[in-house]
Every structure is written in structure tokens, then in C-alpha cells.
């Protein structure tokens, strides 16, 4: 496919060179520029097509064209012109050289992009490994203590340790679900498969799942009165809502109910998660979606989970063609994300 597209390019460049030559011949009546203009055409072809084939093809046909159109006898081929082999060799070399250079440059560019990707992946992995190690350490430690020294602990201490293990394991599960959801976004095209879903069903399921983990959490849900279908990958959007609600419940430092509301605004659905807590500092705002949960040397453990969760939210929303932002309001923080209403299929 791309090969024939390149062929089309070659053809148009050559045609353009030929037309230009005609014009120049008419105006100046001198044949000196003919070869130069074709040379430019060959270079352009080699520059904008892939591989060597079309560059060489352009060189060969340019020679043919010069012979046919612009040397005596006009409109006929005559291979016994003086200096003809030299022109042929020069044009061929230009084509080969330019193609080689372009191929090398492309290889280099691919390498740079690949390295960049590799770097992001490594950073993500490092952040994740750190985040995973903390609860694992606590689980292994607590369970080892229970196995080895159970009779030295009273029942209350034992229960406390078991509770700790349970909590950390749940946290790990949540983390793994987040990571899994990222794999649903196809790597190369950063696109998701959208299906139209009633927004209230997705919202209510997300709230129900959060309440399963935090039974004491209070959430004020408001959905539009009209029936609103939004194209999305429901699993991923649920993940986003859960992450944002969890942040609000865990880190706002407030017992006031968290507000979750959805409304239709023009051609987008707008989701708000509003907490009434401590708010975010300006440095936190800057690094919020970076995926690195360690702004300004705060203890990493204190903010565990916050960083990567939010960066995953952002990846998911961007893959849907929407936007995610955080703003401070007078009594806390509000996360706002939008999802476009166009696109998607009904199943």
C-alpha cells in the first residue's frame, strides 16, 4: 500500500519537474537547467519515499524524460548523445546517496522514539515496584510474625496483624487492577474500544464497588435526570471514578460526604468528584499526574498509591479523547473530567 503511494509521489514529482522544464524552456530557450531541475526532482523523490526503489526509478525515468522531451530529436529517444552515460551515472548516484541518507536518518529517529518509550516504561516500572514492595513487606512481615511467634501475642495483637495483612492485600489488589486496566489501552495507538453505556449505571457500579472496600465512605451521587448514554470503555471509566473517589476518601482528611456528579455540557459528559478536605498545595498540583508519588521529599509511604493512580486516570481519559484536571475550591479539591459524546457503538 505504502509502496504504491510512494510510486504516486514519484510520478507527480517527475510530472512537476517535466512541466517546470517546459515552462523554463519556453521562457529562456536554453537547455542548461533541464538536468538540474530533474536532479532536484530525484532528490525530492529519494527524500520522501521509503527505501531505494523509487529514487532509482526516478533517476532512470528522468534520464529517459530528458532524452525524450528535451534533446534533439524531440519526442523521440536517441541513446547516442554525447555525455549521456555521465549524466546517467550522476543522477543515479544522487538518487542512491539521498535514499541511503534518508534511510539512515529514519532508523535513527525510530531508535530515539524507542528509547524514549523504553525510558517511560522503566520509570513506570520503578514507581510501581516501589509501590508494590511496601505492602508486600508488611504482609510478609506480619504473616511471618504470626507463624513464628503466635503464642507470644495476645488475641488483640493477632487480630490487628491479620487486619493489617487484609488491608495491605486489598491495596495490592487495587493496584494490580489499575495496572491491568492500562493494558486494556492498546499500546501503539493509545485508543480504547468505546461502547455506549448509560452513565448512571457506570457511576452506580463504581460507587458500589468503592463502598465494598470502604463501607464507611459517604458519597453524594447526582446523575442527570435525562437518560444519558456515553461512549466509553466502562471498566476503565469505573476505574477512574473509583480512583478519584478513593483519593477523596483517603487523602482529603475530611469526614464530609464526597460529591460525585455528572452532567451533560454541549457535546461532552462532565464528571465532578468534589471533596471537602485539605486541598492541594501548588507543588502537589504541578506533579499530580506525573505518576511519581514523591513530591518534595515527602515520605513515599505516606502518599503511596496516589501518584500512580492519578497518572493512570489521566492516561485513560486521554485515550477516550477527554480531559482531566484538578482545581482547588474554597473547601477542598475538585477533580473534573470530560468524555466526548460522539463516537462509539451500541451493542
Amino acid at each position: 500500500m505504502e509502496f504504491w503511494k510512494d510510486g504516486l509521489k514519484t510520478l507527480s514529482i517527475l510530472a512537476a519537474a517535466t512541466l517546470l522544464n517546459y515552462a523554463v524552456m519556453r521562457l529562456t530557450d536554453s537547455p542548461y537547467n533541464v538536468a538540474i531541475i530533474y536532479l532536484l526532482g530525484i532528490m525530492l523523490t529519494a527524500r520522501f519515499t521509503k527505501g531505494y526503489f523509487w529514487g532509482i526509478a526516478a533517476a532512470v525515468s528522468s534520464i529517459g524524460c530528458i532524452n525524450f522531451f528535451f534533446t534533439y530529436p524531440f519526442m523521440a529517444l536517441n541513446f547516442f548523445l554525447q555525455g549521456y552515460p555521465i549524466a546517467f551515472i550522476v543522477m543515479l548516484s544522487v538518487a542512491l546517496l539521498t535514499s541511503t541518507m534518508m534511510t539512515n536518518i529514519r532508523k535513527h529517529q525510530d531508535l530515539v522514539i524507542e528509547t524514549e518509550k523504553e525510558k517511560t516504561r522503566a520509570n513506570l516500572l520503578r514507581a510501581v515496584s516501589h509501590d508494590l514492595r511496601t505492602p508486600l513487606t508488611s504482609i510478609i512481615g506480619s504473616s511471618a510474625t504470626l507463624l513464628e511467634n503466635r503464642n507470644m501475642l495476645d488475641e488483640e495483637e493477632q487480630n490487628e496483624m491479620l487486619g493489617q495483612i487484609h488491608e495491605d492485600a486489598n491495596w495490592l489488589l487495587h493496584m494490580v487492577e489499575n495496572l491491568l486496566s492500562v493494558t486494556r489501552i492498546h499500546d501503539d495507538q493509545v485508543k480504547v474500544t468505546k461502547v455506549s453505556e448509560p452513565v448512571e449505571e457506570v457511576v452506580s457500579e463504581a460507587v458500589a464497588r468503592l463502598k465494598k472496600r470502604y463501607p464507611q465512605a459517604q458519597i453524594d451521587v447526582t446523575v442527570p435526570v435525562e437518560f444519558l448514554m456515553v461512549p466509553m470503555d466502562a471498566t476503565l471509566i469505573e476505574q477512574v471514578i473509583i480512583n478519584l473517589l478513593e483519593n477523596a476518601v483517603k487523602y482529603s482528611g475530611s469526614k464530609k460526604p464526597v460529591g460525585l456528579s455528572v452532567e451533560k455540557n454541549g457535546s461532552a459528559a462532565v464528571f465532578h468528584v468534589r471533596d471537602y478536605g485539605v486541598g492541594l498545595s501548588s507543588t502537589q498540583m504541578e506533579t499530580l499526574f506525573d505518576g511519581l508519588s514523591n513530591p518534595q521529599g515527602n515520605s513515599v509511604d505516606k502518599t503511596k498509591g496516589m501518584g500512580i493512580g492519578l497518572s493512570i486516570c489521566q492516561t485513560i481519559i486521554h485515550a477516550h479523547g477527554g480531559g482531566l484536571k484538578a482545581v482547588n475550591h474554597s473547601e477542598g479539591v475538585e477533580f473534573i473530567f470530560t468524555l466526548p459524546l460522539e463516537g462509539g457503538t451500541t451493542v
Binding site: V202, S204, V223
Partner: protein
């Protein structure tokens, strides 16, 4: 009830199998275990367990195949144990005849509740709630099947024919999830096609009539990508 209910656990992960069996033994069930599909298919006919807990990811065969084969001759309740990322598998398992599913990881109370629900539905299999003067009651929500009246907190709610049919169907299967396709074929008939838009719209209307806050429902829950589940009846969960 003095007689112990026998349950068969089909699960190849030893740790998970142990945890389920410990839970069930502690709750007065008789437990059979097996770790492969072949074993399951030979144990179900010979031991006739009263409930089967089936993991879909078995080493030797697809769990779907087990459901299909068992359903050819037995109506034993089957609860599928699946991982969270497999909505399509859940739907397939339910449409093949599994009674319910539970998503890994699950708590013990959730597991026991699902087993009780499945057992209850199987013990009144076929009959449903169609006895004389039947009512369905959960919290403030009430259906009187004889009078065809639905009320919330003592206030009658006006539902259309289709809406009443939908609510009744979900109530007859309270506690269990019903897939979109199975609901559509039961309400609109087998030739209604699989476009579930009309179902979603009807459910949204029902939600606006019976729930205080459609965004935080109390009676009918959505399992996005799978189907709908109605809350259990009072005194039975």
C-alpha cells in the same frame, strides 16, 4: 436442617481451593474437591453434589465445556468463579446455564450469600414465586404479583406493562444476575435481536420511578457489561 449440603469445588489453585473449603466446612457444608475438568465431569455424576463452584480457568479444559456438558443432564446449581477482567466470559457462562458468578477475589460472606441464593432458587425451581398470594418484599420495595402492583415505602408506583414484567422477572430471580440477552429474550421474545438499548432505557425509567437516587440505587443493581441483579428478599439473605 441437620443434613449437610454437599458442595463440589472445581479449582486448580490449591490455596484458593483450601480457603473455600475451610469456609464451607466451617459453615456446615460437606466439601468435595477436584482440580481438573476431567475429574469434575466424572465426580458430578457419581457424587451428585448439590452445588458446584467452578473456576473457569482449568488446566485441562475450558470451564464453559463443563457447564455445557453438565447442563445436558443436570440442573445442579453452578456458581462460576472468575477473574474480574472477563466480562464476556461471565456472560457466556451465564447464558450457557451457570446460575451465578462470583468475581475473584471475594470475601467469605459474599461467597456464602451466593451459594444460599443459588440453593434457594434451585429448590423452588420452575415454581418461582407463582404461588397464591405471592409478594416480594425487600426493604421499602414491594411487589404484589396478584394485584400487579409495585410500591415503594407504601406509595404505589405506576409502571408500564413492560416495566412491570421486567421488575417481576428480576424479583423472581432476586440475588442473581440476569444477562442482557436472557432478559431481552424473556421479555421481548427470542427474535428481539441483541440490541440492548431498549432494555437500558426501560431500566433507566424503572430506576427513576423506584429509586430515590438513580445514581445510587438500593433495589436493582447494574453489573456493567453483564446484566442486572435485584436485591435479595427480606429475611432470606
Amino acid at each position: 436442617m441437620n443434613r449437610k449440603i454437599s458442595a463440589l469445588i472445581v479449582e486448580d489453585e490449591q490455596n484458593i481451593c483450601n480457603f473455600i473449603s475451610t469456609t464451607l466446612l466451617a459453615n456446615e457444608y460437606k466439601v468435595l474437591k477436584c482440580a481438573s475438568g476431567e475429574e469434575a465431569l466424572s465426580m458430578i455424576p457419581s457424587y451428585c453434589p448439590e452445588i458446584v463452584l467452578l473456576d473457569l480457568g482449568l488446566p485441562d479444559m475450558d470451564g464453559m465445556e463443563i457447564i455445557r456438558q453438565v447442563r445436558q443432564w443436570s440442573a445442579v446449581p453452578i456458581i462460576v468463579i472468575s477473574a474480574r477482567t472477563q466480562e464476556k466470559e461471565k456472560v457466556r457462562a451465564l447464558d450457557l446455564g451457570a446460575d451465578d458468578y462470583i468475581t475473584k477475589p471475594f470475601g467469605t460472606s459474599e461467597l456464602l450469600a451466593r451459594i444460599r441464593t443459588a440453593m434457594r432458587h434451585s429448590s423452588r425451581a420452575g415454581g418461582g414465586l407463582s404461588g397464591p398470594n405471592q409478594k416480594f418484599k425487600a426493604k421499602d420495595f414491594c411487589i404484589d404479583f396478584d394485584k400487579r402492583v409495585v410500591s415503594v415505602g407504601g406509595q404505589d408506583v405506576h409502571l408500564t406493562q413492560i416495566e412491570f414484567k421486567l421488575v417481576s422477572l428480576l424479583a423472581q430471580n432476586a440475588g442473581r444476575v440476569l444477562t442482557y440477552d436472557s432478559i431481552i429474550s424473556k421479555i421481548w421474545g427470542p427474535y428481539a435481536g441483541s440490541n440492548n438499548q431498549i432494555l437500558r432505557v426501560n431500566m433507566a425509567n424503572i430506576r427513576r420511578k423506584i429509586e430515590k437516587n438513580p445514581g445510587d440505587p438500593q433495589y436493582i443493581f447494574t453489573e456493567v457489561g453483564v446484566g442486572y441483579r435485584m436485591i435479595e428478599e427480606d429475611g432470606e439473605s
